[in-house]
C-alpha cells in the first residue's frame, strides 16, 4: 500500500479531530496508507496573516523538516495547503537552500479532494446518502487552489445524494481567521447572507472542504439554526452523512 503523509491542520487537531479521523478512513478505503508525523504542529498561517513573518519563517522550516521527505502530503484544508504551496516559497525567497526545498515540497502537497480525484483518479469512494446536499466553495479551495469540480465529482458519486445549487456559493462566508473576531459586524453580515442562501437552497446538509469555514458557518448554525447540518466533505463521505461534524 502506498504511503501518504497526513497534514492535519491545528484547527482540526484541536477542535474538529473527527475530520482527521474521517480523512484517515477515507484514504484507507481507497487503498492508500495514511501516515502521521507526530512532530507536526501548525503550518504558520495565523502568523503570516498577522504579519509575523520572522516567526512564520521558522515554523515553515520546521514544517519542511518534518514533511520534506514525503512523496505525497494530503490535508483536509485548502488554506493550509495554500500556505505551504504559495507562502513558504515567498517567505524563504532569500534563503536559496530552503527555497528549493519549499518549492519541491509545494509540488507534492494536495488538498484531500484534489488528491482523490486528480491524483488517484477516484470519484466513487463507496459513500451513500439519501438526501439533498449543497456545496460551499471556500475561497482558498476555489481561488487559491482552483479546486471546485473535484469535490462535486465526489459528491455526485455518492449513491442517493442529490447535489443542488447554492446561490452565491463562491462568495466568502466571512471567516478570514482574525477577521471574523476583529470585524464582527461585517463578518456576521457576510455570514448571514451565506446561511440565508443555504436555508433557501432546500438542502439537508451544507458540505465544504475547509475547517475554517466550517467553524464559522457551523458556529452560526449551531447558535441560530440548531437543526441545520454542516459537514466537511471527508466526514460526509466517510460516514455517509450520518455523523454531525460540529463539535468533537
Amino acid at each position: 500500500m502506498k504511503d501518504v503523509s497526513l497534514f492535519i491542520p491545528c484547527t482540526v487537531d484541536l477542535f474538529l479531530p473527527r475530520i482527521g479521523e474521517a480523512t484517515v478512513s477515507l484514504l484507507r478505503r481507497v487503498g492508500v496508507n495514511p501516515i502521521y508525523h507526530e512532530e507536526q504542529t501548525c503550518c504558520g498561517q495565523p502568523a503570516i496573516n498577522a504579519g509575523y513573518q520572522k516567526e512564520a519563517r521558522k515554523v515553515a522550516k520546521h514544517f519542511i523538516s518534518v514533511f520534506g521527505e514525503d512523496e505525497i502530503v494530503v490535508s483536509p484544508s485548502g488554506s493550509c495547503v495554500c500556505t505551504v504551496k504559495y507562502h513558504y516559497p515567498e517567505l524563504l525567497a532569500d534563503e536559496p537552500r530552503w527555497l528549493s526545498r519549499a518549492e519541491e515540497l509545494a509540488s507534492r502537497v494536495y488538498e484531500l479532494s484534489q488528491y482523490l480525484v486528480d491524483v488517484l483518479k477516484v470519484e466513487d469512494v463507496g459513500a451513500s446518502f439519501n438526501g439533498k446536499v449543497t456545496y460551499h466553495e471556500s475561497c482558498h479551495i476555489l481561488r487559491g487552489l482552483g479546486v471546485s469540480a473535484q469535490p462535486k465529482k465526489l459528491i455526485g458519486a455518492a449513491k442517493g445524494a442529490q447535489l443542488i445549487p447554492l446561490n452565491g456559493a463562491d462568495s466568502c462566508c466571512g471567516f478570514g481567521g482574525e477577521f471574523a473576531n476583529n470585524f464582527p459586524d461585517i463578518s456576521e453580515s457576510m455570514l448571514k447572507d451565506k446561511v440565508e442562501n443555504f436555508l433557501a437552497s432546500g438542502a439537508d446538509v451544507l458540505l465544504l472542504c475547509e475547517p475554517g469555514c466550517l467553524l464559522n458557518i457551523g458556529g452560526y448554525l449551531h447558535r441560530n439554526h440548531p437543526g441545520k447540518r454542516i459537514m466537511h466533505l471527508a466526514s460526509f463521505l466517510a460516514y455517509n452523512g450520518r455523523e454531525n461534524d460540529y463539535g468533537n
Binding site: 484541536l14 479521523e21 482558498h140 478570514g176 477577521f179 463539535g247
Partner: protein, 476 residues
C-alpha cells in the same frame, strides 16, 4: 475631502445599519459583476487578454521614469505644456494660479479620481473659483456634499427622490419628477449653460501614451469631451503611473477597462488629445496643460513590492466583487479610493498608520485578485502591509502592534517549532479556552474573543486531539 480612513469600523457599522444601503448593495454590485462577465465574453481568450493587460502595466511600471520622459518630450512637441507636481499642494497651486491668471470665474470638470485625492475643488472654491463637476454622478455627489460611494459611480447609491430634491434646490429644475430621463435632462440643461461660457476645463487622464504624447479619456456622457473642447484652456491632471509605452498598449487597456468597468466593449466616448488646437484646425482648446502628479508615488515606486499598486487602471471590478465592499459600500473606506483597490492604494498614499483597518478588514478571499485585469495581487499586498507594521517600517509608516499580540506570536513561534512544547502549550491552553464550555460547546467569551461569540458558537477544544488519537487510529 476629509480623510476618514482611520474610522473604517464606525463608518462601516453605520452603513450596515442603513436599510437603503443594504437594499442597494444587494443588487447593484452583483449586477455590475455580471455585466463585466458578459463584456469579457466578447474577447476570444479572456485569460490571455488579462495576462496581456498585466504585462502592459508591469512593463509600464518597470520603465516608468523613462516612459514619463518620453511622454513629456512628445507632449511638448505636440504643443502641450507639461507641469510636474511633486505633491497635491504644488498641483493645486499651479491650477489655481492658472485660473486666476486667466481670469476665469469657474471651471467645469470631468470625473477625475486624482483631483479628488488632491482635494482640488475645495482649494478652487476657497479662492472664489467654482468647480462644476459635469459627470452626472459626480455632479449629484458634489451637490449633496458626499464622498464617492463607488469610484466609477460616485452617486450610484443615491435614491432618486433625493436627486429630485437636490435638482429642484440647486439645478434649476422646474417640475419635480422621478423620471430618470427627465432628471438627466435637467442636469444637462443646467450644465450645458456652464459649458457654453466655460473658459477653463479640468479633466483626469485614463491613459497617457509615451510614444505619441497623447492623453486618452473614456466616458459615457460626453461631458469630458465638452470639458476638453469648449474652453480656451484645457488642464488635464494625471497621476504619474498613467503612462504606457505605445498606442497599441493603450488601446488594449481601454478594451479591458471598459469591459471590466461597465461591461461595455467600448465606452460611448473615447477622446484622445495630442496637443491643443493646431493652426489649421477649427476647434479645440487653445492651450493644453498636462499636470503630472507624483504625490508620494515615486516613493512608492522605490519599493519593489508596493509599486505593483501603481498598475491599477481604476476599473472598479474589484469593488463590485468584493464581499466586504458588498456589505459596507464605499463611504466606509473614508477617502476617494474605496474597495480592494483603495485598501491597496490608500495605505501607500497616506501611510500605514492612518489606514490600519483598511488592510485588515479583509478575509483574504482573493475575489479582487481573480478579476483584476492588470494582475494586482491584493491579498499579498495586505499581508505585506501587515508585515511592515510588525517591523514598524519607517518608509511606509508602520505602526507598532499591541504588545500582547507580539508576545503571543513570539510564544506561539517558539512552541510551533518544538513539538514537546507545542503539546505542553495545548494542555495548558485547554482549560483556559474551555473555561465557559458546556456540553462540548463554547457560547461566550469575554475579552479579546468577544467578537466571534456574538452570533457564533465554537466547539470546545477537544480533550482528545487527533494527535492523541493517532496511536489508536494507527493500529485500527
Amino acid at each position: 475631502m476629509e480623510i476618514k480612513t482611520d474610522q473604517f469600523t464606525e463608518l462601516a457599522k453605520k452603513e450596515l445599519k442603513d436599510e437603503r444601503t443594504r437594499i442597494f448593495l444587494k443588487s447593484m454590485p452583483p449586477v455590475l459583476t455580471e455585466k463585466r462577465e458578459i463584456g469579457l465574453a466578447s474577447l476570444p481568450d479572456i485569460p490571455a487578454a488579462m495576462a496581456y493587460g498585466a504585462a502592459i502595466r508591469a512593463e509600464a511600471i518597470a520603465r516608468l521614469p523613462e516612459l514619463l520622459e518620453e511622454f513629456e518630450k512628445n507632449a511638448l512637441a505636440n504643443g502641450a505644456k507639461v507641469f510636474w507636481a511633486r505633491d497635491d499642494k504644488e498641483a493645486n497651486e499651479f491650477i489655481k494660479n492658472l485660473a486666476i491668471e486667466r481670469g476665469v470665474k469657474y471651471v467645469t470638470k470631468g470625473k477625475s479620481m486624482v483631483t479628488e485625492e488632491m482635494a482640488l475643488n475645495e482649494l478652487l472654491s476657497e479662492n472664489g473659483i467654482e468647480a462644476w463637476e459635469t459627470d452626472l454622478g459626480e455632479f449629484i455627489a458634489q451637490q449633496l456634499h458626499r464622498p464617492p460611494f463607488h469610484i466609477v459611480g460616485p452617486a450610484i447609491n443615491v435614491p432618486v427622490e433625493e436627486i429630485r430634491d437636490i435638482f429642484m434646490e440647486k439645478a434649476n429644475m422646474k417640475e419635480p419628477t422621478l423620471d430618470p430621463v427627465q432628471l438627466g435632462l435637467a442636469a444637462r440643461l443646467f450644465l450645458r449653460d456652464k459649458f457654453h461660457h466655460v473658459e477653463m476645463g479640468i479633466t483626469g487622464v485614463n491613459v497617457a501614451v509615451a510614444e505619441t504624447g497623447t492623453i486618452i479619456n473614456v466616458e459615457n456622457e460626453g461631458n469630458i469631451r465638452f470639458t476638453k473642447s469648449s474652453p480656451r484652456t484645457q488642464v488635464s491632471v494625471m497621476s504619474l503611473e498613467k503612462v504606457v509605452p505605445t498606442m497599441k498598449d493603450a488601446l488594449h487597456l481601454i478594451r479591458l477597462l471598459c469591459r471590466n468597468c461597465t461591461g461595455q466593449r467600448l465606452s460611448a466616448y473615447v477622446s484622445m488629445d495630442s496637443g491643443p488646437k493646431k493652426k489649421d484646425e477649427i476647434d479645440g482648446p487653445e492651450e493644453l496643460f498636462i499636470i503630472i502628479v507624483d504625490n508620494g508615488r515615486s516613493k512608492i515606486y522605490q519599493d519593489l513590492k508596493a509599486r505593483d499598486a501603481l498598475r491599477c487602471i481604476r476599473c472598479a471590478a474589484c469593488l463590485n466583487i468584493c464581499p466586504v465592499y458588498r456589505q459596507v459600500g464605499g463611504y466606509a473606506y473614508g477617502w476617494a479610493y474605496s474597495g480592494p483597490m483603495g485598501q491597496v492604494l490608500n495605505p501607500l498614499l497616506l501611510g500605514l498608520e492612518r489606514t490600519q483597518e483598511l488592510y485588515r478588514a479583509t478575509t483574504l478571499c482573493g475575489a479582487c485578485k481573480s478579476v483584476c485585469p492588470v494582475g494586482i495581487d491584493h491579498p499579498s499586498m495586505f499581508l505585506y502591509y501587515r508585515a511592515k507594521d510588525v517591523l514598524e517600517d519607517p518608509d511606509l509608516k508602520g505602526k507598532k502592534r499591541p504588545w500582547i499580540e507580539e508576545k503571543f506570536f513570539k510564544m506561539w513561534g517558539r512552541a510551533a517549532i518544538r513539538p514537546w512544547l507545542w503539546d505542553l502549550g495545548v494542555c495548558m491552553a485547554r482549560p483556559v479556552i474551555n473555561k465557559d464550555a458546556s456540553h462540548g460547546i463554547i457560547s461566550k467569551a469575554k475579552g479579546p474573543f468577544e467578537g466571534w461569540f456574538r452570533t457564533r458558537d465554537l466547539p470546545a477544544m477537544t480533550g482528545n486531539t487527533f494527535h492523541e488519537r493517532w496511536k489508536k487510529i494507527k493500529k485500527a
